[in-house]
Every structure is written in structure tokens, then in C-alpha cells.
Symmetry: C2
Subunit: 140 residues, 2 copies
DNA sequence: GATATTTACTTGTATACGCAAGTATATATC
DNA sequence: GATATATACTTGCGTATACAAGTAAATATC
């Protein structure tokens, strides 16, 4: 019975927890017609200082491939949730920006998001949550 | 600039971290010809007391659908990594069990897994990792 | 003990990605 | 300033997974 390292357990439990949380959260977000990935995009756009970001930056931030971002953003553009902004300095880029509609949708969705995440992790105290978040920043 | 709840941040950072970790770990496991999902199955089977578990139990544990498990296990059976065990008490179930080959493969893969996870989360002390894992158990 | 319901699993189909290759533009090198 | 290389993105294709529906076996109800 070879003993298992803490790091292994950490990574496994982290993966299992994230899987559970993202499923639950995804179910709630679907009431707003969006996926968790779409929410993460909106969240990033809303919190980004310049409000219009290159797709590649989105991809890196939310851990998706560039092609994944293309296909994720494409229907969001059709639905007028985000809009394309050209970068005069670099014609290769097409920047992504939350539209007015997108801002409204994000506002509604984030209210749900706050509520459900609080339900899900409410068994942890705020300081416990804060500590974990702080420690996450040190990983990798 | 509405302030964001810690629970939201927790869930988002957790998802992003898990995504990063599972990609890195997956890359390393691919050297053994297996995916992270397959590793999780082997890990669960190896740690399960009775060594032969119903598919539904696997599904619940690793957070996949029953059909997902069917399609995940199927090639593992073909490759003789796991074997089917009938349950005399319940003919609906087909239990899954690590084969000798599977045990050997898991032994090799887990060595890599321990190594890479230690690299990835090595910036956290063991007690920090332990604390987080303990807190994970309280969520949901 | 027959019938209805539930459970464990499989299969068809749809979706959400990733990777590889392609295109256009920018940057570096000479 | 021409050519090579790198970057940002898109598209074709393959894979992993979920959901819905189907099947077979177990359990509950009468």
C-alpha cells in the first residue's frame, strides 16, 4: 500500500472539486442562456481596464486555445453580447469588447453567480476562502 | 465598480487553476498513453477496498455521466487495462477492476503523477496543501 | 406472482473543445 | 527595403463528453 503524496491528492481533489463546482454553476448560468466559459469571458472583459482585449489574451487567461476562443466568441458576437473592435496598431488582432447588452447580461448573470457560488462554498468562512485564493496564486 | 464576492473569486480561481493543472498533468500522463480521466479511474480502482466497482460508482466519483464512463472504460477494456467482473447479486451491473497490466501501468503512471504534481504545487508547503485539501472536503 | 417503477448500463446524436494547417499581418534580419 | 520569421486569428477535423432514449434486470406495489 504505497502512500500517496499530498501533491497528488491536492491535484486530484482540486480537479474533482472544480468539476463539481463548474457543473453546478453552469446549470445556474444556463438560466441566463450562457455557459461558464462565456461567463468567464464576460467577467474578464468587464474587469479588464481597457475593456477591449485581444482574443489571444482571453485564450491565455481562461486557459483555452485560440481556436476555442474563436468559436466561443463567434455566437456571442451574433447575439450582440460582445462586439469586435479593430486595433489600429495591429490589423491581425480583433479586440473583443462587452456591448451594452453584454454588460446588462453580465450584470444579471453575475448576481446569480454570486448567489450560487456563495451557496456552494458557504461552508467555508470568508477568511478560509481568502486564504485558499491567496495560496492559489502561488501555484505554478 | 461593484465589488465581487469572495465566493465568486474562489470558484473562478478554482476553475482556472484546475484547468491549468489538468492540462499540465494530462501532458505528462500522455507519455504513458493515458488521459487524466483514465488516471482518475485507475486511481479510484486501486484505492477502492473491494477492487471491483460498478460503473455508476465510478461515474459519481469522478464526476462523469454514466455514458461517459462507458466510453472511457471501453478502450481500457480492449487494452486489457481493466477487466469486466460480473456481479452475481445484480446482473445489471458490470463491475470494473484493474487488471495486472492495469496495476503495472498505474504504478508507472502514478510515479510520474507524483513527480509532476509535486513540481506544480511545490510552491505550497505540505501543510498548506493539507489544509486546502481538508477545506475542500467541506465544500458542497 | 403480475405489473409498474427504478436502476445500471449502452447507443445515437449533439456540442465543446484541441490540434494542425492555412491566411494575413507584423517584426526582425540582412 | 526584400525576405524570413513570428504572431493573431480562422477553419477542418478528430476526440471527449453530455443528454436523451433504449434495453435489461432488479425492486416495489397491488
Amino acid at each position: 500500500m504505497s502512500s500517496e503524496s499530498i501533491s497528488s491528492v491536492f491535484v486530484i481533489k482540486n480537479a474533482l472539486l472544480a468539476s463539481k463546482l463548474s457543473k453546478r454553476v453552469g446549470n445556474h448560468l444556463s438560466a441566463h442562456g450562457i455557459s461558464l466559459a462565456e461567463y468567464l469571458v464576460m467577467h474578464y472583459l468587464d474587469n479588464s481596464p481597457q475593456k477591449a482585449v485581444p482574443r489571444i489574451e482571453l485564450a491565455e487567461h481562461i486557459g483555452m486555445s485560440a481556436s476555442g476562443i474563436t468559436r466561443l466568441i463567434s455566437p456571442m458576437e451574433k447575439n450582440k453580447i460582445v462586439e469586435k473592435v479593430v486595433n489600429p496598431r495591429d490589423a491581425r488582432q480583433s479586440l473583443v469588447k462587452l456591448s451594452k447588452t453584454g454588460q446588462r447580461l453580465y450584470g444579471e448573470a453575475s448576481t446569480s453567480f454570486e448567489y450560487i457560488t456563495n451557496e456552494l462554498v458557504g461552508n467555508l468562512s470568508l477568511s478560509q476562502q481568502e486564504k485558499i485564493v491567496a495560496l492559489y496564486a502561488k501555484v505554478i
